[in-house]
């Protein structure tokens, strides 16, 4: 039984009719506010272009990430400065223990001493004056970061990230020219640098 106020709408389908009851006000108002919001949303993203669309935001984030992760601006001076920083050296030593030690030896001289026997390891002696792929700090960084094809020296940048590569480069710089005894024979060419190591 319907009261005089209830309006039945004109259409009818299979005997089913429809009342025209008032929608809840809260529902209507959230709808109206959504419409107003969407107008300004459209202006912001598609007309005035004050906001970045998802594709643009992704590209910007990727560019920033690539810059941070893979392309740290390195120079000889920057790396030598890092080699004086105890925190960097501590981090580099930790990376070395975990990653570099199996090939370059616990004393970074390319050998491992077990029961008095000296075993030659695949990695070169890092404590002498001779370098296979260049002895400048940026050369050492590049060797670590991009690797050497065809060897176990993989591109560690992809695994450790540029920051850790810098840290371990600094650590290696602190080891070079220390000539730890009992190490592997020199390989490569000598690198002599004016001034201090």
């Amino acid at each position: 039984m319907s009261a005089p106020r209830d309006v039945v709408r004109a259409h009818e389908f299979d005997g089913i009719t429809e009342f025209d009851n008032r929608l809840p006000n809260w529902w209507l108002w959230t709808f109206y506010l959504a419409c107003i919001f969407s107008f300004f949303y459209w202006l912001h993203f598609h007309v005035l272009k004050t906001g970045m669309l998802p594709r643009e935001r992704f590209a910007a984030e990727m560019a920033e990430y690539e810059a941070r992760r893979n392309e740290i601006a390195v120079s000889d001076e920057m790396l030598l400065a890092k080699a004086q920083d105890p925190e960097v050296l501590a981090s580099g030593a930790a990376v070395f223990q975990g990653t570099c030690l199996p090939c370059h030896g616990p004393r970074a001289n390319g050998v491992n001493v077990v029961d008095g026997q000296s075993i030659l390891l695949p990695g070169p002696n890092l404590t002498d004056r001779f370098w296979l792929h260049g002895g400048r700090p940026v050369d050492i960084y590049r060797t670590i970061s991009q690797g050497v094809p065809n060897t176990a020296m993989i591109a560690w940048k992809g695994v450790l990230g540029a920051n850790k590569c810098v840290d371990v480069t600094a650590y290696v710089l602190s080891l070079r020219n220390t000539d730890v005894p009992g190490g592997k024979e020199p390989e490569g060419t000598e690198y002599v640098e004016e001034g201090v190591r």
Binding site: M1, S2, A3, P4, R5, D6, F19, N21, R22, L23, P24, N25, W26, W27, L28, T99, P102, C103, P122, G123, G147, P149, N150, T151, A152, I154, A155, G158, V159
Partner: protein, 469 residues
């Protein structure tokens, strides 16, 4: 108490036009679209007792679960930030997310089976909306502002100091409870001791968690102070699935028309058991008249059952004028449990839940994925071919484990494994270089090799696909 939405024609006898909630409109929204606050009367009865006991248990579980540990890990923790998910002793990382599909479909079908059999028992007994609204917030309201009759009297008397204090006390308590609920919810997404630490440190140290708690408190407060049954009626899709899931054998709350009609005051000759006392209408939290039949708004709270039973007791009639029964039960007096619909839903439930349980417990305890190192597929020096790989090892168990690499011996191959042993914490991973060298003449075009990754929790064998000229 509830305004009659149907207007009587001037001068007509009140008895001829049916009063009260009709099927034609919602009771909680008036003709101008404004909200009509529903104030259900107090009700006592056996279903209220059962509900309250269940709610105490459910709230206790909700509040205590973030603190419970299984095998040294939280029983339930969805750590989205660190991509670690713990569920009663099982650990999952982001790679296992596909299992969530089966878990959710299993839960969904469980709900569907229960609905097809017993209607909206979830809504009336276990849904957090009901548990917190009826079990906590309405009790607080009742405590501060009294019965609906008292509230009406006080409202008519205007804003006295006492009334203001009651309202302030009520809303302040609502706020505190909402904040407590929000922090408990955070404990499911953040280790609960971190939540405690965050509560005693400045918000700037954990902005996301703070924002989450602020928003959740606001939503919970607005929901239980104002929105209430609108969520059940307008927002929640579950109630609207009823029409698809129900059939004539679904048990739900209903009115025995045969027994109750025609309604008449007590003592009327030829009248049915319904004396039109309208207690069922007065106690209804969603503002319907159950005598009009199964309705969208009805959440199956059984308040009307308890109310009517109480009245029937007082007038010396048998209980059950409003009771749990199926449509067939009301019409024919018999119930049917097994039918094709129930069997189908049960099968889907077993598939969903079963696949999840099976897959979750049969997962490999660690991942060992071999990837080609960046660069050319192979390098050739004189006649020695080198293939460079990176082995990605992920420990997926709740405990630390040590993994050892061991290549399958093959006279034609020379393996270079700079790191053969690695110790990984739970859900930690590491990349290990792997190099394989062979003479081009031994394996023209390449071949395959095997690398074993052994650990105390099992061994996996990785197929190494070698490429050559």
């Amino acid at each position: 108490m509830l305004d009659s939405p149907t207007l009587d024609e001037p001068g007509s006898a009140r008895r001829t036009a049916p009063r009260g909630p009709t099927l034609d409109r919602l009771s909680c929204i008036d003709a101008r679209g404004a909200r009509v606050k529903i104030q259900p009367a107090d009700v006592r009865g056996r279903f209220q007792v059962r509900k309250r006991l269940l709610w105490i248990a459910l709230i206790a579980i909700y509040v205590s679960l973030p603190w419970i540990e299984v095998a040294g890990r939280p029983a339930v923790l969805i750590d989205i930030v660190h991509r670690r998910f713990y569920l009663f002793g099982q650990t999952f990382n982001a790679q296992d997310f596909w299992l969530a599909f089966f878990l959710l479909t299993g839960i969904g079908f469980a709900l569907i089976v229960v609905s097809a059999l017993w209607g909206r028992v979830w809504c009336g007994y276990a849904c957090p909306q009901t548990v917190f609204l009826e079990g906590v917030f309405r009790r607080v309201e009742r405590l501060f502002e009294g019965t609906p009759a008292q509230r009406k009297r006080r409202a008519a008397a205007g804003w006295t100091t006492a009334r203001v204090l009651r309202a302030v006390g009520k809303y302040a308590t609502f706020g505190v409870i909402a904040a407590a609920l929000a922090h408990t919810l955070l404990g499911y997404f953040m280790p609960v001791r971190d939540v405690l630490r965050a509560m005693t440190s400045p918000p700037t140290e954990h902005p996301t968690a703070f924002l989450f708690v602020v928003l959740t408190t606001g939503l919970v407060y607005a929901n239980f102070a104002w929105f209430r049954e609108q969520l059940c009626i307008v927002v929640c899709p579950y109630g609207r699935l009823q029409s698809v899931l129900y059939d004539r054998d679904t048990i739900n709350v209903g009115y025995d028309r045969t027994r109750g009609e025609p309604r008449g005051a007590l003592g009327t000759a030829g009248a049915g058991d319904c004396i039109d006392c309208r207690r069922c209408v007065a106690v209804c939290p969603v503002g319907i008249d159950i005598r009009n039949g199964t309705q969208l708004e009805c959440v199956g709270c059984a308040n009307c059952i308890d109310a009517c039973d109480e009245v029937m007791d007082r007038i010396g009639r048998p209980r059950g004028l409003v009771r749990y029964d199926s449509q067939r039960g009301f019409d024919e007096g018999r119930r049917q449990f097994w039918r094709p619909r129930v069997a189908l839903y049960a099968v889907l439930l077993v598939v969903g839940a079963g696949v999840f349980a099976f897959a979750a417990t049969r997962r490999a305890p660690f991942e060992a994925d071999l990837l080609r190192a960046r660069g050319p597929a192979f390098t050739l020096e004189s006649d020695v071919v080198t293939n460079a790989f990176v082995l990605h090892v992920i420990n997926k168990t709740p405990d630390e484990a040590t993994f050892t690499l061991r290549p399958e011996p093959d006279a034609r191959l020379q393996w270079t494994l700079p790191i053969t042993e690695v110790r990984l914490a739970s859900l930690a991973d590491q990349h290990l270089p792997v190099l394989v060298r062979f003479r081009a003449a031994d394996l023209p075009g390449g071949g395959s090799a095997r690398l074993h990754v052994a650990s105390p929790i099992g061994t996996r064998t990785v197929e190494v696909r070698l490429v050559g000229p």
